[in-house]
């Protein structure tokens, strides 16, 4: 058996190689097309009204859990009841954005995309390039329905999702990082609980005080090694992370700009904090450890998303059934009825120079182009419904996503029972932080943002977990990302 098998399988491999290399395949001419808006798809407004029966709109998401998820489903159900031409069906297609993205790209092969996809904030360039998205501004332009235009949409939100004058997604679930801190520990360490640190330098000073008071023994600041925090700090002082003006000057990014002072300073912050024993660095692949560190008082300050506000407020109040809250996908492991024995505060995310600024986070909803006119127009109709102020209020009140319309925030603040509540106060803090964002500098556009995040997370981890020199870590990440940018631009034919 031995010999013939060997020879034959070698021959087989050779044949396969030959066949595959000669075999045609639908080769394309390879001309790269830019993203100029001359050939943008048109929006078939109201086409569904002429269709017979109800048009089904499938929406994919991979990030809404607990109350966020319930709020989304409630709004979709209410929409379905409010008219008889469209049925919206929300499907969870992954427990993480990565999984959702994989499913989305795989569905591109089979051409069975959903009508709406709730993509991560990092997807913008990919959605623009993929040829699968119907830009919302195409619909806004031609739709005479007054609901189509949102004059009070926060300029920073619009700017983040606008590329070359075209706004791509139609609806949003916006979040921003905030500082959660243990007010009790602050007081015990002689810090003012009403004055959370506003800059990274102040965070370090506070951490030193906490450490001197023997509080936060695992490192007073706990932080997941999530590049989001770096990007915020860097964008906040108006610096870029990739070239071509963060990929926004009409040309796609082709290289990183990690040698600018803001990037270096942010990484130096990580390295210094770690060296001084002030940082409890948690690997980016961990889902729960950083929450736990705060719950068990191993750490007293936490950088996390504002989307966790409802959850944390519930834990603090001790009145949340966490299991029900989180469903079976997310993972904060505080047992039901657990009440933290300390007071928690929320502060605006501390920047390099000033608090706030940063860039828009969360997710955005895109209409896809592969559906029929009826499906595309029905999807747009649902987004218009979702964007109405009353639904936006519901979206914020029941989940923790920040209002994107000023009218929604005003309506919320007018309700004293909300504005005075822990959640209301915290959301307002986060909202005020988000309002400081610079609409003229809305953060980077990166095609392979997933690779960017992965590589920067690796750099952060090797600095904080392995003690690598920040410059060396950044260099490794930089060259890997630059290669990914090149590959991305090459594959977008």
């Amino acid at each position: 058996m031995a010999r013939p098998t060997k020879i034959l399988s070698a021959a087989l491999l050779a044949t396969a190689l030959l066949a595959a290399s000669c075999g045609g395949g639908d080769d394309t001419d390879g001309t790269a097309s830019g993203n100029g808006d001359s050939n943008l798809p048109t929006c078939p407004v109201d086409a569904f009204k002429k269709a017979s029966g109800r048009t089904e709109v499938v929406m994919w998401e991979g990030s809404y859990v607990g109350r966020n998820n319930a709020a989304l489903h409630a709004i979709a159900d209410a929409y379905n009841l409010s008219q008889n031409k469209v049925t919206v069906r929300v499907e969870k297609q992954g427990a993480t954005y990565d999984e959702l993205r994989r499913n989305y790209e795989q569905a591109m092969n089979g051409k069975n995309l959903p009508a709406i996809v709730a993509g991560e904030d990092t997807w913008t360039q990919f959605m623009v390039d993929s040829g699968t998205a119907l830009p919302a501004s195409q619909c806004i332009k031609v739709d005479k329905d007054p609901r189509a235009k949102m004059a009070d949409l926060l300029p920073s939100v619009a700017a983040a999702y606008t590329v070359d004058g075209v706004q791509w997604p139609g609806s949003f679930a916006v979040s921003t990082p905030v500082l959660y801190y243990n007010r009790t520990a602050f007081a015990n360490a002689g810090l003012d609980p009403d004055k959370p640190p506003a800059t990274l330098a102040e965070v370090k000073a506070a951490a030193e005080k906490l450490k001197a008071a023997k509080l936060g023994t695992s490192g007073p600041l706990v932080m997941k090694m999530d590049p989001w925090f770096i990007e915020h700090a860097v964008t906040g002082v108006g610096e870029t992370v990739v070239n071509n003006d963060n990929g926004r000057d009409g040309k796609r990014a082709t290289a990183t700009t990690f040698d600018n002072p803001a990037v270096k300073e942010t990484f130096a912050f990580l390295a210094d904090m770690k060296k001084a024993g002030l940082l409890n660095a948690v690997s980016n692949s961990k889902l729960i450890d950083h929450y736990l560190a705060v719950a068990t008082q191993g750490s007293d300050m936490l950088f996390e998303t504002s989307a966790a506000i409802t959850l944390i407020a519930g834990v603090v109040a001790g009145n949340l059934d966490l299991k029900k809250e989180l469903g079976d996908t997310v993972d904060v492991n505080i047992p039901a009825g657990f009440k933290v024995p300390f007071e928690v505060g929320v502060g605006v995310y501390p920047g390099l120079k000033a608090p706030g600024k940063g860039q828009i986070g969360g997710s955005a909803w895109y209409i896809t182009t592969t559906g029929s006119d009826a499906v595309q127009s029905a999807a747009w109709d649902f987004l218009k419904y979702f964007n109405q102020v009353d639904n936006q209020v519901k979206w914020t009140r029941e989940g923790s996503y920040l209002p994107v319309r000023d009218k929604a925030q005003q309506e919320l603040e007018a309700d004293p029972s909300w504005a005075g509540s822990l959640i209301g106060r915290w959301i307002t803090t986060a909202y005020n932080g988000m309002k400081t964002l610079n609409a003229d500098f809305p953060g980077p556009l990166i095609g392979p943002y997933d690779v960017f995040r992965e590589d920067v997370a690796q750099a952060m981890e090797s600095v904080t977990l392995q003690g690598t020199d920040p410059a060396a870590a950044l260099k490794t990440a930089g060259s890997s990302i630059t290669a990914a940018l090149k590959k991305y631009n090459d594959t977008n034919f």
Partner: protein, 288 residues
């Protein structure tokens, strides 16, 4: 036998073979062809963008690139951690349990019991020992999942345990074929226990040990669940074996890299198979 009978026999043979051949064609040879194809063509990231020929140079770039080499190295480290230890422990258990004692069957059953655990089961089992939050041994530094230097070892340990049953069973079966007269003769010649083991027993069970080595190497190449469930590939990608990497490369635009790496994995499996065939040939000589 007439011609008609011949033809009938041919028809019967192919009818019996047809189901197997169809499965092999569709799920072994077609994918081999497609892997080669995907490795030579870059898929577009654009809807309906098709593909573009990138050629063997691109395949070579992947196979000589850092990600492939690093994945290969991690896979090899995984083999170094699992194969020798697996064999040694299998021999130890088998030597201990290969004797005439009342109730020895009970011990033999216990030693072979880990055959019942799948990779997923044994990974979950080992979470009770090595997980950084709840593991009994979470503070043992050489098993720590927190460090890139030790995490792979923790994952490998679960594989060693899971394979114990198999290695034990195979070595025991081999030991049972060793003629007792031979050992007695060696004993009479004044060989001590250690010499008897290395001079008489090991050569006689060496085919089984080689077989075991091959099986464990193949298992090592296929390691996936223990990585996903115990380490998640981290920290710092230190436990991303080749297969683990490949599975992360299934997006359209990654297919070229993923397929090239799959062919690389195929090449490595092929090498192991060559060794295995050599071995079989040698064993034939032994047998005669």
């Amino acid at each position: 036998m007439g011609k008609r009978r011949n033809v009938r026999q041919w028809a019967l043979a192919y009818a019996l073979l047809l189901p197997s051949l169809v499965v092999f064609a569709v799920f072994a040879y077609l994918p081999l062809y497609r892997l080669v194809h995907f490795s030579l063509y870059q898929q577009s990231s654009r809807l309906g963008g098709g593909e573009r020929y990138v050629g063997f140079g691109a395949v070579w770039d992947v196979l000589s690139g850092e990600r492939f080499l690093q994945g290969t190295w991690i896979t090899i480290k995984f083999l170094i951690f699992t194969v020798p230890a697996g064999i040694a422990l299998g021999v130890l258990l088998a030597m201990a349990a290969h004797r005439r004692l009342k109730g020895i069957k009970i011990f033999q059953t216990i030693f072979s019991s880990t055959v019942a655990s799948s990779v997923a089961v044994s990974s979950v089992v080992f979470l009770t020992l090595v997980n950084e939050q709840i593991g009994l041994l979470r503070n043992v530094s050489w098993l720590s999942l927190k460090s890139p230097n030790s995490a792979l070892f923790a994952a490998a340990l679960s594989s060693v345990w899971q394979n114990l049953g198999l290695t034990f069973v195979i070595v025991l079966a081999a030991l049972q074929t060793v003629p007792e007269e031979l050992l007695e003769a060696a004993h009479l010649d004044g060989y001590g226990a250690v010499r008897r083991f290395f001079r008489v027993v090991v050569p006689l069970i060496s085919p089984a040990l080689f077989f075991l080595a091959i099986v464990l190497v193949v298992y090592g190449f296929q390691a996936y669940a223990q990585i996903e469930l115990i380490t998640g590939g981290g920290p710092l990608r230190s436990t991303e074996t080749l297969l683990y990497r490949i599975t992360k490369l299934q997006k359209n635009t990654d297919l070229q890299v993923g397929a090239s790496m799959s062919l690389g994995l195929f090449g490595l499996t092929f090498l192991v198979a060559l060794v295995q065939f050599r071995l079989l040939e040698r064993r034939v000589t032994y047998g005669n």
